[in-house]
C-alpha cells in the first residue's frame, strides 16, 4: 500500500515526539540524582568538557551535511547526494568513536554503570543517545547502499526528508544532553 510523503513525515514526527519523552524521563532521572551531594564533583572530575565539546561539533556538522543530502535529493543530483550521505555517515561514526573513547577512559578509572548513581544515570542517558546515533547510522548506510545501487537516480524520493527528521532530532537531543551533563555543572553551585 503506497503512502504519501506527508504520511511518512507525520509518522516520523510522531516517532520523534515519543522518543523525546523517553529521553525526558532519562534526563529527569539524571537531574534528580545530580541534586544529591557529591554528584557534581564527580561530574566535573570525570567529564572532559573540551574533548566532548569537539565531538559535539562533529555531530552538529553532520546535521549540516545531512541538510545538503536533502537538498541534493530534491534536485536529483545523484553524485552530490552520495557524497553528502557518506560525509554524514563519516561524521556520525567519528562522534560514536569519540563516545567509545570517553567510555573506555571512564571504565579504566572504574566509573561504570554499577559504580554509583552518577555512573548509572550518565551511562544510561548518553548510552541511549549513542544507540540512537547507531540506529541512524544503520539507516543512513542502507540509504547509501541503495543510492549506489541506483535507486535514487531520478528525483522525487521523499525518504530523505523523513529520515532527516530523525537525524536532526538526534542532534537536537544531544544539544540538550550535552548542556545538562557537560556544561551546566560548571555553572551551578551545588
Amino acid at each position: 500500500m503506497a503512502n504519501s510523503a506527508l504520511d511518512t513525515r507525520l509518522l516520523m514526527r510522531l516517532v520523534v515526539f515519543t522518543e523525546s519523552l523517553f529521553f525526558m524521563a532519562l534526563l529527569v532521572a539524571f537531574v534528580f540524582f545530580s541534586l544529591a551531594p557529591g554528584f557534581r564533583q564527580q561530574q566535573l572530575a570525570a567529564l572532559d568538557l573540551g574533548r566532548t565539546g569537539a565531538f559535539t561539533l562533529v555531530l552538529f556538522s553532520s546535521s549540516f551535511t545531512y541538510w545538503r543530502v536533502e537538498a541534493s535529493a530534491r534536485r536529483g543530483a545523484t553524485g552530490a547526494l552520495k557524497f553528502w550521505l557518506l560525509a554524514t555517515i563519516a561524521l556520525g561514526t567519528v562522534f560514536l568513536l569519540g563516545q567509545a573513547w570517553e567510555f573506555h577512559g571512564l571504565f579504566g578509572r572504574h566509573i561504570d554503570l554499577a559504580s554509583n548513581t552518577f555512573g548509572t544515570s550518565f551511562f544510561t542517558l548518553t548510552g541511549f543517545h549513542g544507540l540512537h546515533v547507531l540506529i541512524g547510522l544503520i539507516i543512513l548506510s542502507i540509504l547509501a547502499g541503495l543510492a549506489f545501487a541506483g535507486d535514487y537516480d531520478r528525483p522525487g524520493s521523499s525518504i530523505f526528508q523523513a529520515i532527516g527528521i530523525y537525524w536532526h532530532f538526534v542532534d537536537i537531543v544531544w544539544a540538550v544532553v550535552f548542556t545538562v551533563v557537560y556544561v551546566l555543572p560548571h555553572f551551578s553551585r551545588f
Binding site: V15, L21, M24, L113, T117, T124, F128
Partner: protein, 556 residues
C-alpha cells in the same frame, strides 16, 4: 499481502487459505479480530488467576495458595488485565473500526499494523513464559521499588515483566502512531474533524495519550532492567537510588493509562446510546471537547496515587484539587448520555443494556475516585479493599462494560452473524449481578480496614462472610464469561445472517457488507454530518439540512 478473497471470513478461524492467511495478514479487519481474540484468551487466563485468589480468600486463615503463589497470581492478574486484555481489546476495536468509520480502505501503514499486533502478542507470551522460567513477577502490577529489585525478587519473573511490557509497549505506541496518521490523513472527503464519529475522536485522543504516557513506563522498565541485570542503581535505595523515582515514572504513565482505557469506552458508548435511542448524541461538541480536556488533565494528577508517600501538603493539595477537576468533564459526560436517551425511542438490546448499566456502575466508581482525591480519606483507605472496589468499578463497570456494549453492537458487522439475544440477556444479568456482588462488598471490607495484597486474614467479625460472598460473586462472573464464549462460538457456527445494517445505524461502517470485503468500500457515500448513513437513508430529514436550527449539536 495474502491472496485477496471474495469476502473476509469474519470472526471465524477457518478460511480458504487456512491459518496461514491470518498469520500473514496485513488487513486491518483481520488484525483487529486477532487483537480481539488475543484479549479474550488472556481474559480467560487472567480470570482463572483471580478465581484461584478468590478461593484462597473465601475463608479466613486459608492456606490453599500460600504467600508466594498468591503474590504471583495477583500480579499476573492485574498486569494481564490492563496490558493484555484491555489494551488489545481497545486496539482491536480501533484497528477494525477506525478505517471503516472514516471511509478508508485500510490503516495508513498496514505492515506496521501487523507488527504492532504481533509485538503485543509476543509481549504477553513472553511475560507468561516466566512461569516456566523459575517464577512469575510478584511485586504487583505497579511493581513498586524496592520490591522489584533483585534483592527482594531474585527470581527472573520481574525481568520478564520488564521485557514483556516493553515489547507490548512498543507495539502499543506504534499502533497509536499508525492510528493518528490514519485518522488525520485518510478520512473520506467531507468528513471534517467536526463530523467524525465520537469513537474515532476518542481513539485519536487515546492514541495521543499513549504516545505521551508510554515512554515514561518504557524508560522506567529499561532502567529497572539495567538495575536488575547490570547492577545499575536507579531504584536501589541503599546505593543512592530512589524508590520514589519508580513511583513517579510509573504513575506518570499509570494515571493517563486509566484514561487510555476509559476514553475508547466513552467513544463506543456515544455511538451505542445514539443508535439505540434513535437520536444524535447530545452535545457532540461537548463530548469531544471534554474528551480532549480529560486527555490533557490526565497528566496533571498522577501524584494522587502517592498521597501516602509523604510528599508534603503543598504537593498533595495541588494534586487533590486537580483530581477533583478531572471529575467535572467526566461527570458532565454522563449527563450528555442521559440527555441522549431522554425522549428517544429506546431499544434495549444487550448492547444498550450494558451501556445503561455502565452509567450506574461508572458513576459509583467515579464517586469513590473523588472520595480518594480527598487526602485524609485517601490516607485512611489507601491500600485497602476500598481501592480494589474503586478500580474495578471503573475498569469493569466502565471500560469493560463499554467494550462489551461495543462487542454486542459490532459483532454482526464483524462476523455477518447475529448473536443469540436471549442467551446474551442471560449473560448480561449473570455478569452484572456477579460483578456487583463481588465488588460492592469490597467497599465495606475496605472501610473495615481489610488491606489489599495480603494472602490471608484473621477471623474478624464479618470478614469471613463478606469475603465468601465476594468470592461467590467472582464465580458468577466466571460462569458468565464462559457463557459469553459459548454465545460467540454458537453464533459463528450457526447464528442467523445479519445483513449489512441490522441496527438501522448511522455511521459509514454499516454501509458496506457484513463482514466487509477485503476492500472496504467501492464508493463511500457523501459525508456532511455526524450521521452520514442516516442522511443517506433519509435525505429529506438529513442532519446537515438543519444545521441552522441545531447549531452546536452537530458543530459546523
Amino acid at each position: 499481502m495474502p491472496e485477496p478473497v471474495e469476502a473476509l471470513p469474519g470472526l471465524s478461524l477457518d478460511t480458504d487459505q487456512g491459518l496461514l492467511q491470518w498469520i500473514s495478514s496485513v488487513d486491518h479487519k483481520q488484525l483487529g479480530i486477532m487483537y480481539l481474540w488475543t484479549a479474550l484468551a488472556f481474559m480467560l487466563v487472567g480470570g482463572a488467576e483471580i478465581l484461584l485468589i478468590r478461593i484462597q480468600l473465601a475463608v479466613p486463615r486459608n492456606t490453599f495458595l500460600g504467600p508466594e503463589m498468591y503474590n504471583e497470581l495477583f500480579t499476573m492478574h492485574g498486569t494481564t488485565m490492563i496490558f493484555f486484555v484491555a489494551m488489545p481489546a481497545i486496539f482491536g476495536f480501533a484497528t477494525y473500526l477506525v478505517p471503516l468509520m472514516i471511509g478508508a480502505n485500510d490503516m495508513a501503514f498496514p505492515r506496521l499494523n501487523a507488527l504492532s499486533l504481533w509485538l503485543t502478542i509476543f509481549g504477553g507470551l513472553l511475560m507468561y513464559f516466566s512461569f516456566l522460567a523459575g517464577g512469575a513477577p510478584n511485586a504487583g502490577w505497579f511493581n513498586y521499588a524496592p520490591l522489584n529489585g533483585y534483592n527482594y525478587s531474585s527470581q527472573p519473573g520481574i525481568d520478564y515483566y520488564c521485557a514483556g511490557l516493553l515489547l507490548g509497549g512498543i507495539g502499543t505506541v506504534s499502533a497509536s502512531i499508525n492510528l493518528i496518521v490514519t485518522i488525520l490523513r485518510y478520512r473520506t472527503a467531507g468528513m471534517a474533524l467536526h463530523n467524525m464519529p465520537v469513537f474515532v475522536w476518542m481513539m485519536l485522543v487515546t492514541a495521543c495519550l499513549v504516545i505521551a504516557a508510554f515512554p515514561s513506563l518504557n524508560a522506567a522498565l529499561a532502567m529497572l532492567l539495567l538495575d536488575r541485570r547490570l547492577h545499575a542503581h536507579f531504584f536501589e535505595v541503599h546505593d543512592g537510588g530512589s524508590a520514589l523515582l519508580w513511583q513517579h515514572l510509573f504513575w506518570l504513565f499509570g494515571h493517563p493509562e486509566v484514561y487510555i482505557v476509559i476514553l475508547p469506552s466513552f467513544g463506543i458508548l456515544s455511538e451505542v446510546f445514539s443508535v439505540y435511542s434513535r437520536k444524535p448524541v447530545f452535545g457532540y461538541v461537548f463530548i469531544v471537547g471534554s474528551g480532549i480536556a480529560i486527555g490533557l488533565l490526565a497528566f496533571g494528577v498522577w501524584v494522587h496515587h502517592m498521597f501516602a508517600v509523604g510528599l508534603g501538603n503543598t504537593a498533595n493539595n495541588f494534586f487533590a484539587a486537580s483530581s477533583m477537576l478531572i471529575g467535572v468533564p467526566t461527570g458532565v459526560k454522563v449527563f450528555n448520555w442521559l440527555a441522549t436517551m431522554r425522549g428517544g425511542s429506546i431499544r434495549f438490546t444487550t448492547s444498550m443494556m450494558f451501556a445503561t448499566s455502565f452509567l450506574v456502575e461508572f458513576t459509583i466508581g467515579g464517586l469513590s475516585g473523588i472520595a480518594f482525591a480527598i487526602v485524609p480519606i485517601d490516607l485512611q483507605l489507601t491500600d485497602t479493599y476500598f481501592v480494589v472496589a474503586h478500580l474495578h468499578y471503573v475498569l469493569i463497570g466502565g471500560t469493560l462494560f463499554g467494550l462489551l456494549a461495543g462487542l454486542f453492537y459490532w459483532f454482526p458487522k464483524m462476523s455477518g452473524r447475529m448473536l443469540n439475544e436471549r442467551l446474551s440477556n442471560w449473560f448480561f444479568w449473570l455478569f452484572v449481578v456477579g460483578f456487583n456482588v463481588t465488588f460492592m462488598i469490597q467497599h465495606v471490607l475496605g472501610t473495615l480496614g481489610m488491606p489489599r495484597r495480603v494472602y490471608t486474614y484473621p477471623d474478624l467479625p464479618g470478614w469471613g462472610t463478606l469475603n465468601l460472598l465476594s468470592s461467590i460473586g467472582g464465580f458468577l462472573m466466571g460462569a458468565a464469561m464462559l457463557l459469553l464464549v459459548y454465545i460467540i462460538v454458537q453464533a459463528l457456527r450457526s447464528g442467523p445472517r445479519a445483513g449489512a445494517d441490522p441496527w438501522d445505524a448511522y455511521t459509514l461502517e454499516w454501509t458496506t457488507t457484513s463482514p466487509p470485503p477485503l476492500q472496504n468500500f467501492d464508493r463511500v457515500i457523501p459525508v456532511a454530518s455526524v450521521r452520514p448513513f442516516r442522511d443517506f437513508k433519509m435525505p429529506h430529514d438529513a442532519d446537515h439540512k438543519e444545521v441552522g436550527k441545531r447549531k452546536g449539536i452537530y458543530g459546523k
